[in-house]
Symmetry: C2
């Protein structure tokens, strides 16, 4: 079956494809906030209707959390499973958005046209690149060049609690020859990428309790332990002066990058000044003895993602709060064991509590790092297909983010995964004013059309 008319069809149908994406972006499917639960279901239903309309056997599958979307389409070639997620990140701080996060628009910017709105890049826009490629194949040829299962979840931004149970219960239905995961980015504007290693993620919330009630710092100040002071000291102790994480045993299972991979990375000509400059930064802040790309892709990290306690409103209140809180996450690599690190982290924080302070923990998620099977023949086929679409050849790269699904596909279903996406570093995913370049959307759909063709061959 010919590829060219499929690519042509994508071009002529782009306005309709964009209108569809806008519809999906208008649904505020924030999975982490229970207030938006019905909106998550609405997004799932929208996708099912769309997949049914192009001939998929699509259905909504209930879970204890937000529902799954599972859709099958027959075809002659091998069987691929496409994974994405329809849920989005929260939108705060809302004041920093230039427009309603759920009123998307195509904007002209100095760097070209962008689709602005929450979820445009992470991950609704990316999901639709694949669906649009399938739609074009169907419109032109009345069929797909290979057998396709689409599997979309609605809890990716909230720790995917239902994912593993669902995959176990539906293992036979979901197992395919390879998984295609579209939730990552380009290496550079003109250079597509296939991810070969992903960091794992451990997330913890802690609450330090001091006094039994909020106290007046005039009456109790000095003599009373302040839980913010205890929390600050414990968090400050998580890194040493050279940027290393101090939790005991933290670096167990962290591998050195092989010399050939390091050489390949160096050839990419990554410029940390440009990368950091996009974010208003200038100096790599990770382990002082590691290269910038190692810090980004291959080294474990510890970050405080949220902190709160005491009076945070207008003006001043001289309160000694009863409690102080923080959300802490670790990016993991190699063979680091998330559960062991959780245990060590909790003991470490515990050991830093002064008298009269206790600490409680709530675990949010824990997934190990993943290494892809680049010797699977699909990798080379996809690399060539991507290289045909984009100005520069596709690169095999690492990724600092944690996309636990790749590990789950391997451990639960025994499937290898290819992570291919079209986001850009400046997409502001998880931040105000998230966007997805129109060129990402356009060339993303074309890339999938090519990859489907290549994998069928």
């Amino acid at each position: 079956m010919k590829l060219t008319p499929v690519l042509d069809r994508l071009e002529s149908e782009e306005p309709a494809a964009l209108a569809r994406l806008m519809d999906l972006l208008r649904i505020p499917s924030i999975s982490t906030d229970p207030a938006y639960a019905t909106e998550c279901t609405r997004a799932a239903e929208w996708l099912i209707a769309d997949l049914l309309s192009i001939g998929f056997d699509a259905s909504l599958r209930e879970t204890p959390g937000h529902p799954m979307v599972v859709a099958h389409h027959d075809g002659p070639g091998p069987h691929v499973l496409f994974y994405g997620h329809y849920d989005v990140q929260p939108i705060d701080p809302l004041a920093l958005w230039t427009r309603d996060p759920f009123d998307p628009v195509v904007e002209d910017t100095a760097k070209g046209q962008v689709i602005r709105g929450r979820g445009s890049s992470d991950d609704k826009g990316q999901v639709m690149t694949f669906i649009e490629a399938c739609r074009a194949w169907k419109a032109v040829h009345g069929s797909l060049p290979l057998k396709v299962t689409v599997f979309l979840e609605g809890e990716e931004e909230s720790g995917s609690p239902s994912l593993i149970p669902f995959m176990k219960e539906n293992a036979r239905e979901l197992t395919s020859d390879i998984a295609l995961i579209c939730d990552t980015g380009l290496f550079g504007e003109d250079t597509p990428a296939i991810i070969t290693m992903l960091r794992g993620l451990l997330t913890e919330e802690l609450t330090v309790t001091g006094p039994s009630k909020d106290l007046h710092s005039g009456m109790y100040g000095g003599i009373s332990m302040n839980p913010i002071r205890a929390l600050s000291r414990a968090l400050a102790a998580l890194h040493d002066e050279t940027g290393h994480v101090t939790v005991p045993g933290f670096y167990e299972g962290v591998p050195e990058i092989p010399a050939d991979v390091m050489a390949q990375w160096q050839a990419l000509g990554f410029d940390p000044q440009t990368f950091l400059g996009e974010a208003g930064l200038s100096a790599p802040a990770g382990e002082a003895d590691r290269t910038p790309l190692e810090q980004l892709w291959a080294r474990p990290t510890c970050d405080v993602n949220g902190i709160w306690g005491g009076y945070t409103g207008e003006g001043f209140k001289t309160v000694l709060p009863a409690q102080a809180h923080a959300k802490v996450s670790f990016r993991l690599v190699g063979q680091q064991d998330p559960l062991k690190i959780r245990e060590n982290f909790r003991a470490f924080i515990q050991s830093h509590m002064p008298p009269d302070c206790t600490v409680g923990f709530k675990g949010h998620g824990a997934s190990p790092a993943a290494q892809m099977a680049t010797d699977h023949p699909a990798f080379e086929k996809a690399r060539v297909a991507l290289s045909d679409e984009w100005p520069h050849p596709a690169a095999y790269i690492g990724c600092g983010a944690s996309i636990p699904i790749a590990g789950y596909f391997k451990t639960v279903l025994g499937m290898d995964s290819m992570l291919i996406g079209f986001g850009k570093d400046d997409d502001a995913i998880h931040s105000p004013n998230e966007k997805y370049d129109l060129v990402s959307f356009r060339k993303g759909a074309r890339s999938w059309a090519r990859i489907l063709s290549a994998l069928a061959a």
Copy 2:
């Protein structure tokens, strides 16, 4: 003029006095939050109407902030000025209140009846003890035993920005023989107190800025400086292992307590276990080489009163925030210079910023510590009058809180002040479920009736 019928009148009129206080407590006069500005004015107007009703020449006096209440009543003896404040603290965290903070009620508790509501102790209940004493004198004798000026402000909980300019502009009208300040507490349940030393207060808000926008910790984690990490480290550095504050020059001007005062304090039989136990604490957390009463009354402190940054909602968000914030206050003693400490604090925090982090400051308030003129004859008269009312004799004590007004009366108007109040340590001022014991209200009004009589003699 006889005192006994005045005390009898207070007893018989107590239900009406309580009803008046409840009316005043229902007005949510939160001064620090601009949303409550009209409520502050309403509280001022309520007090003016009440003072007019008992023959004071009372008027509302506009300021750039919340208005002042000034009321005069003629009399034969010396001229006293009574100071209090009608504004109250914010009410958050609202969820911890057992009832609406502005729907006050008299509750039976294991420790006796209490008036529950925001401002009941700090400071509306205390203000009304004085006004009720004046009302009773008027009702019984048709006059007051000495000349009285009532001066109430509405910005005490928000740094009193209008106070000094107002006092300067109205110096002649306000200057009296002595000021009576009712915003403090008893030493113990049965032991009234006159404060002879007050800590000063310096309050600062700081904002640490790292990246130019919120970042995704998967994409940017490790290589990017996190402003929460920078803030935690800077705040953690404010104390050393022995509880001393590390800001350079911080202890300049901190006096040693004279041996005779220390001996007097030791005679009070203060039990830190009981005091701390009320707040769910057990161990003095201040400077390790200082006694608990020194930590409470006579040593300077540094506390973080609020901290916030990143994602603080439900669930988890792996964000690297652009900014992190804290509110920090210092309690000052002796000759410590608030403005010099502000400068040193800012330089100290600045010096703890890593590359790619900047810090900005907003000063909220700065007042030095104050030492009262206990050789003024009014002190001994008031001490005897208080001792007549309460089971145990009145004590001269220190106070950890900062009531800058006493210093202003001295420096701006050349007046000495007596700080006498009837609050208790467990009143939960500035906290949820603030209360004022009914016995504080009752014996407070009787105490003022006695003090007015004593000062007139």
